[in-house]
């Protein structure tokens, strides 16, 4: 049975929401709610901040204390809230124009100060609310109402800017690659520090139609053509790559600093779930569940793999299995598995019986 408890995090009495048919913002809202629910975040410990724009309306649909700032100021507000209330989880839901253009200075400096907030940027490569003008992320050459002969300038490369220093967390995904999207959301929420998820999304009504797409799904296919997923944790992303960039702080290896890192790791391992082989089978990617595999006593989440995206995920026949033997004999070796986040340990039979 699929878990639909995330709906408690949405103000369903205000549904249907304000966005156009097929607009990607609805998918962002829903998947973020699912991500929050999985981690048990709720109105007692979470605050959501938005800017202005179609995307900025997201905060109003979250069943949490929400702050809807003036255009571009979401990051500043989020950082201030986190500063005086470190006990709160602070997330930002906003648009590319809001965060990258009018809020551009705040983006640079919030990134620099690295507060522990998570930003979900609905990157539809256009100014939606105001009618489809070219925005900071509009690709060069794209025709919009303010670039009738094609946009003259290069877009803001958030993948370059937001990975220019360490520590950093930047992920790019799309509303089409749902598994990857969900993995990015969870990783970003769990990351301690400034994490930014750049979600390529569709503004079908004011951008897609002009580009010649008839339905949102056609735009999804276009995303699939333009971008491909790269696995594992990277230190940078090319302009056509989807994936996660995570860099640790460049600390001088002092004795002190070392123990800190070790301490952190331990907590991580303690937090891992213990799964039996039976339970592992459950995570086969169906019903919106993540795809887990077992390997050498550990459980890895391979949902983000490009092999299992979109309609292809149905054909995932290795999910929910212990693959130790298969991988040992496979040509690509075990490195491939280590790219994926480890989420649990396998319970061996004897232990399970205890």
């Amino acid at each position: 049975m699929i878990d639909r408890s995330y709906k408690k995090l949405l103000k369903l009495n205000r549904f249907p929401h304000t966005w156009c048919p097929g607009c990607g913002i609805g998918a962002v809202l829903k998947n973020v709610a699912i991500g929050l629910k999985e981690l048990g975040w709720n109105e007692q410990n979470t605050t959501v901040v938005s800017g202005i724009g179609c995307s900025g309306r997201m905060a109003g649909y979250m069943n949490l204390d929400a702050v809807h700032t003036p255009h571009g100021r979401a990051l500043t507000a989020a950082e201030a809230i986190k500063t005086v209330r470190p006990d709160l989880n602070v997330i930002v839901l906003s648009g590319d124009g809001d965060l990258g253009s009018i809020g551009g200075n705040h983006l640079l400096h919030t990134f620099r100060r690295n507060p522990d907030i998570t930003v979900f940027c609905n990157d539809n490569e256009i100014y939606g609310l105001t009618g489809g003008q070219a925005g900071p992320t509009t690709p060069e050459g794209t025709k919009t109402i303010t670039s009738p002969r094609g946009e003259h300038h290069q877009p803001l490369r958030l993948n370059r800017i937001l990975t220019a220093k360490s520590p950093c967390f930047y992920a790019r995904t799309t509303v089409y690659h749902v598994n990857h999207f969900k993995t990015c959301i969870r990783e970003a929420l769990l990351y301690k520090g400034f994490s930014f998820v750049d979600i390529i999304s569709d503004c079908i009504e004011l951008n897609g139609r002009r580009l010649g797409f008839k339905t949102a799904h056609q735009m999804f296919k276009w995303f699939d053509e333009r971008f491909h997923i790269v696995e594992g944790v990277r230190d940078h992303l090319e302009n056509d790559e989807l994936g996660i960039v995570k860099k640790e702080a460049e600390v001088e290896v002092k004795a002190e600093a070392k123990t800190e890192v070790e301490g952190k790791l331990e907590v991580l391992i303690e937090g891992l779930k213990l799964l039996t082989l039976e339970e592992l089978k459950h995570f086969d990617g169906t019903n919106g569940k993540p795809i887990y595999i077992g390997y050498k006593g550990n459980v890895y989440d391979i949902s983000a793999s490009p092999l299992f995206q979109g309609e292809k995920r149905m054909r995932c026949h290795i999910a929910g299995k212990d693959l130790t033997r298969d991988i040992e004999t496979a040509p690509h070796g075990e490195d491939l598995v280590y790219h994926f986040p480890m989420v649990g340990r396998l319970k061996v039979k004897a232990e399970a019986e205890k």
């Binding site: 204390d65 929400a66 700032t69 500043t76 709160l88």
Partner: protein, 347 residues
């Protein structure tokens, strides 16, 4: 213990006394010292947080957001920065966030004369942000009063649930006087507004009804909400009808001055009657009308080209004479000669 204290220090200490836990700002003459004190204080007191913002837009937004999160907050700037803060000021009124904005005025427009005092941001209190809002603003004229009024400003903010403005000027910020701040007693209004992370409210600058539901097409709900806000703000302002009035002997002439100008013209108290508004906005309408009624001539002496004078004309329905002290030129001699000249014109 009596100490030599500057206006900026008094403001900062006043804020601490009022319970401020968060300060953010961007360096600008003449309030950079407040930034410096806040930064130092934050190193000593882990309960107190400081952020040197990337610009005044961020500073103002952070002040309001941190206030919503549950802390008493304040920020400080001068004219050019106050211009950038206007956006947040309107937002602060819409989301009903109690906090304090300090604007120590210098000569404008734009960068103007960075080190010269002025009083030319009065209209900016009220008219810089979009839409209708009803700010409360105070303006002290001494170091001790800066301390007291900072606390008053925080109290008024908690009561009105809005950003309250404390005006100062470059002169006052850097004025040193001997005071014993610890001996000053002041009442502090505690925070009553529920902080973030308790319920499911939406704080938005988009038009909304009293419950916080977005209503972008409902004049009735908007009117109800705005009238509530107005009543509350004017009600709180009425609690603080602060002014000073020195009736001179047999004088037919009323001088109106505030802030540093009122200090400079204090020798003229022998010769003329003097009225000093302390609550600059909302304008002390009733008080001005009453007091002005016993005088033949009213002269407003201020560090701008007639901003308060126009408010006095509006409040009293009478023409007033103006002595604009522009470009940082506040000289008693010159002011006296200007008063004579104005009176010469009507005699």
């Amino acid at each position: 213990m009596k100490q030599l204290v500057s206006g900026n220090e008094a403001i900062f200490q006043g804020a601490l006394r009022a319970g401020a836990r968060y300060f953010t700002g961007y360096p600008i003459t003449p309030i950079s010292e407040i930034l410096q004190q806040a930064a130092t204080h934050a190193e000593e007191d882990p309960e107190f947080k400081f952020l040197q913002a990337e610009d005044e837009i961020a500073a103002a937004i952070a002040t309001i957001s941190a206030s919503l999160a549950g802390a008493k907050t304040f920020t400080a700037t001068s004219g050019p920065g106050f211009t950038l803060m206007q956006e947040a000021l309107g937002w602060g009124h819409a989301v009903e966030a109690p906090c304090v904005f300090i604007n120590s005025m210098r000569v404008g427009p734009s960068t103007g004369m960075p080190t010269q005092p002025a009083q030319s941001d009065l209209l900016q209190i009220k008219a810089g942000s979009a839409g209708d809002y009803y700010p409360i603003a105070f303006y002290p004229n001494s170091v001790e009063e800066s301390f007291r009024l900072t606390i008053t400003a925080f109290n008024a903010a908690e009561e009105s649930l809005s950003p309250v403005i404390l005006l100062a000027d470059a002169f006052l910020s850097h004025l040193y006087e001997v005071v014993d701040l610890n001996a000053i007693e002041a009442e502090v209004v505690p925070r009553a507004k529920e902080p973030l992370g308790r319920s499911r409210r939406l704080f938005t600058g988009t038009a909304h009804d009293r419950m916080g539901n977005v209503k972008t097409n409902d004049p009735e709900a908007y009117r109800d909400w705005l009238n509530d806000l107005k009543d509350r703000h004017l009600g709180v302002a009425e609690k603080y009808p602060l002014f000073e009035y020195f009736p001179g002997k047999n004088s037919e002439i009323l001088l109106i001055a505030f802030g540093i100008t009122s200090r400079i013209i204090s020798p003229l108290k022998e010769q003329f009657s003097v009225f000093r508004p302390i609550r600059i906005y909302p304008v002390l309408e009733k008080e001005l009308r009453e007091i002005a009624s016993s005088y033949r001539h009213i002269i407003v002496i201020e560090g701008n080209d007639g901003q308060y004078a126009s408010w006095v004309e509006w409040a009293t329905g009478r023409k007033v004479m103006r002595v604009p002290c522009l470009g940082g030129g506040f000289k008693l001699q010159w002011i006296r000669s200007q008063i004579e000249a104005r009176l010469g014109e009507v005699r």
